[in-house]
Symmetry: C2
Subunit: 159 residues, 2 copies
C-alpha cells in the first residue's frame, strides 16, 4: 500500500475535499508511516536511526526482520533461528548479503553455497535463491532499489 495521508484544507477536511499527498518527512510518524521507511518518492534525507528504534517484524516463529531505507538503498537486519528456511524466490533488486553471525546455506544458480559469519554473497537481480539457517544467524541484507514488497508487506513467501 502506498504511504499516503489525508491532507486537511483549512483544518476541515472532508472525504471529498481530502487530497492524497505524499508523506514528505521520512522517519517522522505519519498515518501509514513506519520509522526507517520513507515514502515511495521521498527525497533523500539525512536521518539518524538506532536499530533498536526500528520495528522488528516477526514474520514467522524463526524469522525476524527490520530495515532502514534511504532513497535507493535498503539495509535490512534479518534474524534467523537455526533451521529457518527462506523458500526459493527472486526479485529485481540487486542484493548483497553479509553474514554478521551464524551461517546461511544458499541454493542458487545450481550450486549450494554456505556463507559463514564474515562472508559476503552478491546476488544479481532476478536470480532465484533459497536459504536455510545452519545456526542462529544475523544476516545483513543490502538491496537496490529498496524492496517494495517488504515495505508494503507483500511478502507472503516469508510469512
Amino acid at each position: 500500500m502506498p504511504k499516503l495521508k489525508l491532507a486537511k484544507r483549512g483544518g476541515t477536511a472532508t472525504k471529498k475535499k481530502a487530497k492524497r499527498v505524499r508523506v514528505s518527512r521520512a522517519g517522522e510518524s505519519g498515518v501509514f508511516q513506519q520509522r526507517g521507511v520513507p515514502s515511495r518518492r521521498a527525497k533523500a534525507e539525512l536521518r539518524h536511526i538506532p536499530w533498536n528504534s526500528v520495528e522488528l517484524e516477526q514474520l514467522n516463529p524463526l524469522l525476524q526482520r527490520q530495515f532502514v531505507v534511504g532513497r535507493d538503498i535498503m539495509v535490512a537486519r534479518v534474524l534467523m533461528k537455526k533451521g529457518c528456511i527462506v523458500p526459493q524466490h527472486q526479485h529485481i533488486n540487486e542484493q548483497v548479503t553479509y553474514i554478521l553471525d551464524g551461517a546461511l546455506k544458499f541454493w542458487i544458480d545450481g550450486k549450494e553455497i554456505v556463507v559463514n559469519a564474515g562472508e559476503v554473497l552478491t546476488i544479481p537481480s532476478n536470480m532465484p535463491h533459497k536459504a536455510e539457517a545452519l545456526a542462529d544467524t544475523v544476516d545483513l541484507d543490502v538491496f537496490t532499489p529498496p524492496r517494495r514488497d517488504w515495505i508494503e508487506k507483500d511478502d507472503r513467501y516469508l510469512r
Copy 2:
C-alpha cells in the same frame, strides 16, 4: 584506472594486435583486477567473498578500508582507530552508514551527530560531511552507485 586486460588472438598476442577488453569475471584475478571489485561495466554476478580474502587498504595510520562491489551496490568495511578524522567531503553516491562497533561523530547539515554502535545514518547524495572516530570503530558503509573514486584509488582526502 579502468580495469582492462590484454586479449590474445590465437594465442599470439602482440602489442599491435592486443585489444582492450573488459575483465568479464569479476572476482577472478586479472591484470588490474582486485578481489571484490568487478570492472566498471561488469554484469551483475553471483560471488561468494569472505572479507578476509578482500584487500585491506591502509589509507593512513588510523584508517583501513576494504570493500565489495556488486553492480550498483558497494559495501565497505572501514576500520578506524580512535581520533581518526575523515575530512569534510561529499559525493554523488547515496550513503548508509551502520556502525558495528565504536562510535563516529559526524559534522553534517549544520549539526553534530554521534552515531554509536547499533545505529545507522542515511546520508543523501552530495551532502558534505566530516567524521571523527570517538573510539576504535568498525563502520559499515553502503553506497549506490559504487564509489568510483575508491575503486580507482582517487581518494586523496583519505590518504
